[in-house]
């Protein structure tokens, strides 16, 4: 089915389709993004941020760009019986990067959900000049550039000032590829205005016969005193490939918490950058991944402290089985003015097989002199002393291992405040670790 394609052929194939697509942003922005993508090209292992994250699957699967008219929305039916369809949320469906028009109205007051392309010119140009693509850099970010050049739809979620959103907003990304492999470029813009509170859940679901690549860019703007809980769930199949870039801009006194739970997916690269763009901000990134087979999970994070008196915490845990690979690269950047910064970072990994690999690299870059920053990373096999303690009380070895691994994962999952989602994930992890 699949034919090998060289990296430059793949790149040129995409570029050649550029003119036939209806892009989102101003033509000059798109052209600029395209030029950035063209000049950087597809990263190789020689690029610092892709050192351990091989992209050979791009050559193998020959992904095609999909047009709006080609989207098969009947795939929505396949999600109907998924447990995540039953948790109480307000759902927004994105199929192959395109929103489903029927569910673009929020039931909740103070919440507006729209397509960027549906807005009138005045609104659109205001959003574009204030928010869209304003916080992300295209240079050295070939996949962000690719998305910016090729995104054909963008969902804009706006939470009005002081709105407390009771029901979480769930963005259900669905990938469907058949008979060709497909690359999707979904785009999301979330604006949580001053004093608002909300929970946003993103989940990814891949169907079809051929591999999908979700190359997504999401921008979150969190206003003064706003509070956002953000959960990203990936419990997907071997057809699933993701390169995701999330940029979070926080203003003073805001609170942001990201919990990333990844339980399956062939290739899953996450970039999450937070900009602490004000004082007294709390910014927490946490996540747990369980990989098996030949899966790869990669998280590249950046906590960018630009102002004084902020706190950031980062806590990622990995459980690796089979021949899987995990990559953690977490950077804390404390700029010159960001005095009294408190930044903490931890990455702990358990390798359950001799052929699983983990590459972990914490980075601190500090230009202020009155800060508290710490980081720590551990990687190793399961602690035999702990296992023996449980076994010596009559618990079978397999069960003892599962108990300890569940405890590691649940430590992160317990951070999810939405109870039905939390309970669903605890159960999923338990089943997965008992397989």
């Amino acid at each position: 089915m699949s034919t090998n394609i060289s990296t430059s052929e793949f790149k040129n194939k995409l570029i050649n389709q550029f003119d036939s697509l209806n892009g989102l942003s101003a033509e000059s922005n798109r052209r600029d993004a395209l030029a950035q993508f063209d000049s950087y090209g597809i990263p190789t292992l020689k690029h610092e941020h892709w050192k351990y994250t091989g992209l050979t699957f791009l050559n193998k699967h020959n992904f095609d760009i999909i047009k709006k008219s080609e989207v098969d929305y009947s795939v929505l039916e396949q999600f109907a019986n998924h447990p995540l369809n039953f948790i109480e949320t307000e759902k927004i469906f994105i199929v192959n990067g395109f929103s489903v028009s029927s569910n673009l109205k929020s039931m909740q007051s103070g919440v507006t959900i729209s397509r960027l392309s549906d807005l009138d010119e005045a609104q659109k140009s205001q959003l574009v000049s204030d928010f869209y693509s304003q916080s992300i850099k295209l240079e050295n970010n070939p996949f962000v550039a690719l998305n910016t050049a090729f995104a054909q739809d963008c969902i804009v979620i706006k939470i009005a000032q002081n709105t407390i959103v009771e029901t979480p907003l769930q963005i259900v990304y669905m990938n469907f590829a058949s008979p060709n492999a497909i690359i999707n470029n979904p785009r999301l813009l979330v604006i949580a205005e001053e004093g608002s509170q909300a929970t946003v859940i993103e989940s990814v679901h891949t169907y079809g016969t051929n591999p999908s690549l979700k190359n997504s860019v999401s921008e979150y703007y969190i206003g003064n005193k706003a509070s956002l809980e953000h959960y990203r769930i990936q419990d997907d199949s071997e057809l699933s490939h993701t390169i995701d870039f999330t940029q979070v801009n926080q203003e003073s006194d805001s609170h942001y918490h990201n919990v990333n739970v990844s339980l399956g997916g062939q290739f899953n690269r996450n970039n999450i950058h937070t900009l602490l763009n004000g004082e007294n901000i709390e910014s927490n990134l946490s996540g747990v991944f369980i990989t098996s087979g030949n899966e790869l999970f990669d998280i590249h994070s950046l906590a960018d402290h630009a102002f004084p008196n902020c706190v950031s915490n980062e806590n990622y845990k990995g459980i690796l089985l089979g021949n899987s690979t995990g990559i953690f690269n977490g950077k804390i950047l404390v700029r010159k003015d960001a005095q009294k910064t408190n930044a903490y970072q931890s990455n702990k990994n358990v390798l359950l097989s001799d052929t699983a690999s983990i590459y972990t690299k914490p980075e601190l870059e500090i230009y202020a002199d009155d800060v508290k920053c710490s980081h720590g990373a551990t990687s190793g096999a399961l602690d035999e002393i702990s296992i023996f303690y449980l076994v010596s009380r009559g618990i079978g070895r397999k069960k003892a291992e599962a108990m300890i691994l569940n405890a590691i994962a649940d430590d992160i999952i317990d951070l999810i405040k939405h109870e039905p989602l939390r309970l669903h994930l605890i159960e999923r992890v338990e089943n997965k670790l008992n397989q």
């Binding site: 002393i385 702990s386 023996f388 303690y389 449980l390 076994v391 010596s392 009380r393 009559g394 618990i395 079978g396 070895r397 069960k399 108990m403 300890i404 569940n406 405890a407 590691i408 649940d410 430590d411």
Partner: protein, 252 residues
């Protein structure tokens, strides 16, 4: 029939032989104490009985209720009724005491072909047995040994013993690091759990625990062998005179 019979036991760790032919027989209803200087093999004996993999048995037998104990996996030994109170209890973050013990009890019950304990009975049992070792029942929902003081960890060992109701329990230096009040609680727990059907092996450096748990037999372990056995008065003599005279006697 003896509850446990250890014959000519030789064991090594990473090639160093620690036990050089140890013999010990314990009957139901008995409390035995093993004393001895550092490095004599006390903890090795405890580890070998519990089934720690790093220790290799090269010779000898251990028969527990007529079964070859050394042939059993560590979990099956526990299920059959062997319990080790650890010298250094292990912290298990994220696993609550309640979940830990419920899992353990039900695995043991499954092995014995009994139905699992229902949640209410289990809770009731936990509360009762917690009183026995004077621990606060709020600790039951906390992670196993995490944030516990040295004394609380040792009490938790005795609490686990009370919950699992072993036939044969080895207390590996449970008294080390305990203040006198905590030691009394631990001793009191053991005394209350003692019946005519079970037996205890108390491993200790010092005689003071034996003021509260009165042993039927005291053995001196030196260089991997039991070199002298006696009644409880032997413990006092050791406390007063040290171990050298026993060693000298053994050589002569």
């Amino acid at each position: 029939m003896a509850l446990i019979e250890i014959k000519n036991l030789k064991a090594n760790i990473y090639g160093n032989e620690i036990l050089h032919g140890l013999n010990l027989t314990i009957n139901p209803g008995e409390i035995h104490a093993i004393m001895g200087p550092n490095g004599s093999g006390k903890s090795t004996l405890a580890s070998v009985l519990a089934g720690k993999e790093e220790f290799e048995v090269t010779e000898g037998t251990v028969t527990f209720e007529g079964h070859d104990l050394l042939d059993m996996s560590p979990e099956d030994r526990a299920r059959a009724g062997v319990f080790l109170a650890f010298q250094y209890p292990v912290e298990i973050p994220g696993v609550s005491n309640a979940n830990f013990l419920k899992t353990a009890i039900n695995e043991i019950r499954k092995y014995r072909k009994q139905d699992p304990l229902d949640a209410m009975d289990f809770l009731q049992m936990m509360k009762e047995r917690a009183k026995l070792v004077e621990i606060d029942s709020t600790f039951l929902s906390r992670s196993v040994n995490v944030g516990f003081s040295g004394g609380e960890k040792k009490k938790n060992e005795i609490f686990q013993m009370a919950m699992l109701e072993p036939k044969f329990a080895v207390l590996d230096e449970t008294d080390s690091g305990l203040d006198i009040d905590a030691m009394k609680v631990v001793a009191n727990g053991v005394n209350k759990l003692k019946t005519d059907d079970n037996a205890f092996l108390i491993i200790t450096h010092y005689q003071r625990l034996l003021d509260y748990i009165i042993p039927d037999y005291v053995h001196v372990l030196s260089e991997g062998r039991i070199i002298k056995s006696g009644g409880k008065e032997l413990a006092y003599e050791l406390e007063e005179r040290g171990y050298d005279w026993v060693k000298a006697e053994a050589i002569a």
